[in-house]
Symmetry: C2
DNA sequence: GGGATTCAGGACATTTAGTATCCAGGTTAT
DNA sequence: ATAACCTGGATACTAAATGTCCTGAATCCC
């Protein structure tokens, strides 16, 4: 899995604590010492996916496109890592005995079905958790996290 | 995910229909037109993981090391793809504000926890399905699969 | 309008992982 | 002894992930 998923999740949590404020890619990168240009690519992907909105120019930057309760972890994984399953069925059975050339073995093959079932439970678990859930859980153990995050961004005026 | 996982699963199902018989890597590869040397590497990994047993020399080959009811899909995924989770926590929080240098953020970080929860459901689903389950499900829709598989292997005497 | 700031996205370069082949060495059946 | 077969290391090739750079367009401020 793409490392950008981790960056994106933490950045979205941070943005949930800066509602209505546009944060530049440079400052989001500086927060965790990430490569600016590369993080920018991930932010662009999140924007294309409708998770963030972006504004160009001075005073520009990124912010969450909607309520953090409405942004699931699956949304972010799909935006960064793409929609494909980890297990890719190459329809190996088409080379086997008694193969039906016009059958779609990604659906017929029992192995493929079993792997897809597992990935579905994975995706369902991710879809059940939102950025707001994560943020709340952070606050429950570190109540000062939102304030210290805002404070660090304020001091990142570079 | 490694393509060898697909090869390994189908090969194990086939081997479950050839109990007690040693099948060479060459014939297992020929069954699906796979590259012999590379499939051999996957079979070696399965052997190291205790899923297969191997015998050298003429009349040698591979067979299942235990009852197919005792071989889960997770066993195979771990043997081929390794034990690591897809999401790899790089402890990004250590670069953030108020970071504890001696904390293990792979355990403390809420994002990391959420991702691991999802992967756990994934692995649990894979661990709940065995090669025997797969084989039975194949038989229920294609009752002649075991016989035609044995027949194809018999004609692969190359 | 002009300059500065920032996002958008294409074009690279680099690194790493996956895919694949080959060979030398050890094992075993005949 | 010989041939068949597994084991594992070395190596090459390919694709994907990672990272940088640069041009262009949007936007703010003077």
């Amino acid at each position: 899995m793409n490392e950008g998923v981790e960056w994106a999740m933490h950045s979205c949590v941070n943005l949930s604590w800066l509602p209505g404020e546009a944060v530049t890619a440079k400052r989001l990168a500086a927060f965790y010492n990430l490569p600016t240009a590369y993080l920018n690519k991930q932010l662009q992907a999140l924007t294309r996916a409708g998770i963030l909105t972006s504004v160009s120019g001075p005073k520009g930057g990124f912010q969450l496109a909607r309520d953090p309760h409405k942004i699931t972890l699956l949304d972010i994984v799909v935006a960064i890592d793409g929609p494909d399953d980890a297990f890719r069925c190459t329809q190996i059975l088409k080379q086997g005995p008694g193969a039906d050339p016009k059958a779609d073995y990604t659906k017929v093959c029992v192995v493929s079905q079993a792997m897809r079932t597992a990935e579905l439970t994975y995706r369902r678990t991710l879809a059940d958790q939102t950025i707001a859930d994560i943020a709340e859980r952070v606050v429950s153990t570190s109540p000062d996290a939102p304030a210290s995050t805002r404070n660090r961004f304020a001091n990142l005026k570079s």
